[in-house]
């Protein structure tokens, strides 16, 4: 048996950044392998894009359908596409280990391009673990994949996605019962100081205003400057309560959709020990990359929201730029070609990203959600509360990793994905040490649970390699 050829580039994630990167590299004749957890390309933003119905297209709108050419143009003959592939280990030596259809495999790539995108920022508030409470992104995934829409749901939090999903729910004939928004008028005036910088993105700004007009026209109740948000219920969500201008409100609902923006998915970059930086505005860590998306390790690049939240359009440009740079590093193209073909892309990216300072200021998450207090659950998997984490500091706990020993926070199956940022923030607040110095959980493989059967299949493959 001839061993399979080693790919020049392994792209992990088939969202906008990964798809663009794979196309760019394959266009230069490079051997590309594209791995993704889903059964079809698109990532979360363009989820199910190749199979969505005309009706879904109408409801989801042009920002969704814009992703179709990207997914449709993937040349499955020249790119080794691996759907349903869950990557659970990546090494700095270029080894990528993944499960596909119950079998574990390991492949070496000369260069690895991580395009693992974002996940919802943790939204730790009282009652957020009750059944019936989901992320706004989850509701959108149900709409994209299964044509399901939430009925009489309450949206709570802040960020552009909150308006987008409200507009989509209206288009689907199920307007939200209410929108509870955390941004304050102070935040609005603060953000206005960035409006000049956002001018190149006037089309995006206009789109946002149109969404808000649509929500107003549908008569959806909006509560702005909300605080003390709490989801009430014993066995499941029954109501949501909150305070606006000193007055407490209560709305009955069995479905609450939460959103406070998204943060980079850093599981792989952390497990690789790459350098990360704390982003003061976006309140999260992101891996450090240069203008071409190269990480602190020479053979590893990062593109898209996984490198810092800039949205789908920027992800596409960054994917192409990072792929081009990777090929230059591998001597498949010259650095002159790289510079030439990425010049316009870098300009477009800069223009597209100009809106971010405005959005970051306008929709900054409130302190009570970044650094919760009391009995609010922080670590969903192990049911560790904010008070618990704070008490560990009094007992001498110095960093996120030590909280694991004190009370198992971050040790459940989600591996800290939905508590890591919160634990860093709380420890920083309690100790007075900057989040950058506090750091984050140490992440180790397997990044997703692996069965013994899958491990055995990997062992069988390596045995064959040794004996053949």
């Amino acid at each position: 048996m001839t061993p399979p050829q080693k790919p020049d580039l392994i792209v992990i994630g088939a969202g906008p950044a990964g798809l663009a990167a794979a196309s760019q590299a394959a266009g230069h004749g490079a051997k590309v392998m594209l791995l993704d957890e889903q059964s079809a390309p698109g990532g979360q933003i363009y989820r199910n894009i190749l199979s969505a119905s005309a009706q879904q297209d109408t409801i989801l709108g042009s920002d969704y359908t814009a992703g179709r050419p990207l997914a449709a143009d993937i040349d499955t003959k020249s790119i080794d596409c691996r759907p349903n592939a869950t990557v659970w280990k990546v090494g700095t030596d270029g080894a990528v280990t993944f499960n596909q259809n119950g079998v574990a495999q390991q492949v070496y790539g000369s260069h690895i391009l991580l395009a693992t995108g974002a996940l919802e920022r943790p939204i730790p508030l009282p009652g957020w673990t009750l059944p019936g409470v989901m992320t706004a992104g989850a509701a959108q995934i149900l709409l994209k994949t299964s044509g399901l829409v939430a009925r009489d749901a309450v949206l709570a939090g802040s960020g552009p996605l909150l308006y987008l999903i409200a507009a989509q729910m209206i288009a689907a004939g199920r307007p939200p019962k209410a929108m509870i928004e955390t941004q304050t008028s102070g935040q609005f005036y603060g953000a206005m100081s960035h409006i000049g910088g956002a001018f190149p993105c006037w089309k995006q700004l206009l789109k946002g205003l149109k969404l808000i007009a649509k929500i107003r026209k549908a008569g959806v109740a909006r509560y702005k400057g909300a605080s003390n948000i709490e989801i009430l219920g014993i066995k499941r969500a029954e109501a949501i309560s909150f305070t606006v201008k000193g007055r407490t409100h209560r709305i009955d609902t069995d479905t609450v959709l939460l959103h406070q923006g998204v943060v980079p998915n850093t599981q792989i970059t952390r497990s690789l020990g790459l350098k990360h930086r704390w982003d003061e505005k976006q309140r999260c860590f992101h891996p450090i990359t240069d203008a071409f998306g190269q990480s602190s390790s020479k053979n590893i690049s990062i593109a898209g929201d996984g490198a810092g939240i800039l949205g789908a359009k920027v992800a596409e440009y960054s994917g192409r730029i990072a792929a081009s740079n990777a090929l230059a590093l591998l001597d498949i193209i010259t650095s002159t070609t790289r510079d030439k073909e990425t010049r316009a892309l870098r300009r477009s990216r800069r223009k597209e990203a100009a809106i971010r300072p405005f959005l970051d200021a306008l929709y900054a998450p409130p302190p009570e959600i970044l650094r919760p207090k009391g009995k609010t659950i922080v670590c969903r998997c192990e049911e560790v509360t904010a008070d618990d984490i704070r008490s560990y500091v009094a007992l001498g706990c110095k960093g996120p990793n030590q909280t694991k020993a004190f009370g198992r926070s971050g040790m459940g199956p989600c591996q800290g994905r939905y508590c890591g940022a919160t634990v860093t923030e709380i420890l920083a607040e309690e100790t007075g040490i900057h989040p950058e110095q506090i750091g984050s959980y140490r992440i180790r493989a397997p990044l997703k649970p692996v069965t013994l059967g899958e491990l055995a299949s990997l062992a069988a493959v390596s045995e064959k390699e040794i004996t053949s």
């Binding site: 957890e37 059964s39 979360q44 199979s51 119905s53 009706q55 879904q56 409801i59 996940l119 919802e120 673990t129 059944p131 019936g132 409470v133 989901m134 992320t135 992104g137 989850a138 509701a139 995934i141 149900l142 709409l143 994949t145 299964s146 044509g147 399901l148 829409v149 939430a150 009925r151 009489d152 689907a172 004939g173 199920r174 066995k235 499941r236 069995d254 479905t255 998915n265 969903r380 998997c381 049911e383 459940g412 199956p413 989600c414 994905r417 939905y418 997703k448 649970p449 069965t451």
Partner: protein, 102 residues
């Protein structure tokens, strides 16, 4: 609760499975989590220590609150596609306590 934007009434375009013995029909290529939510189920698992109930939170394979059991293995309902005749159950709590977690 969740409603379909287009009710799936075509009997030929339906897949059948069971959840704790209950018969459920769904469209092809639906995740177990979406099918259960559409059938009105809100909680999927119980926390091993507190016994509190949980339902899907992220729908993208990252939170693990949608765990169910299929063929004796604990899987994430949101990343598992329904196939004809699938036998899905809630994870018996003892399994989690005995550390048989996938």
């Amino acid at each position: 609760m969740f409603d379909p934007i287009v009710p799936n009434t075509d009997p030929n375009a339906q897949v059948h499975f069971t959840f704790d013995g209950e018969s459920i029909y769904t469209a092809p290529n639906t995740s177990v989590a979406a099918a259960l939510l559409a059938a009105g189920h809100t909680w999927f698992r119980q926390m091993p220590v507190s016994g509190r109930q949980r339902g899907p939170f992220c729908m993208m394979g990252t939170c693990f609150d949608c765990l169910v059991e299929i063929d004796g293995i604990t899987v994430q309902a949101c990343v598992t596609t329904v196939t004809e005749g699938l036998n899905v159950t809630r994870v018996p709590q003892m399994h989690l306590q005995e550390g048989k977690f996938k």
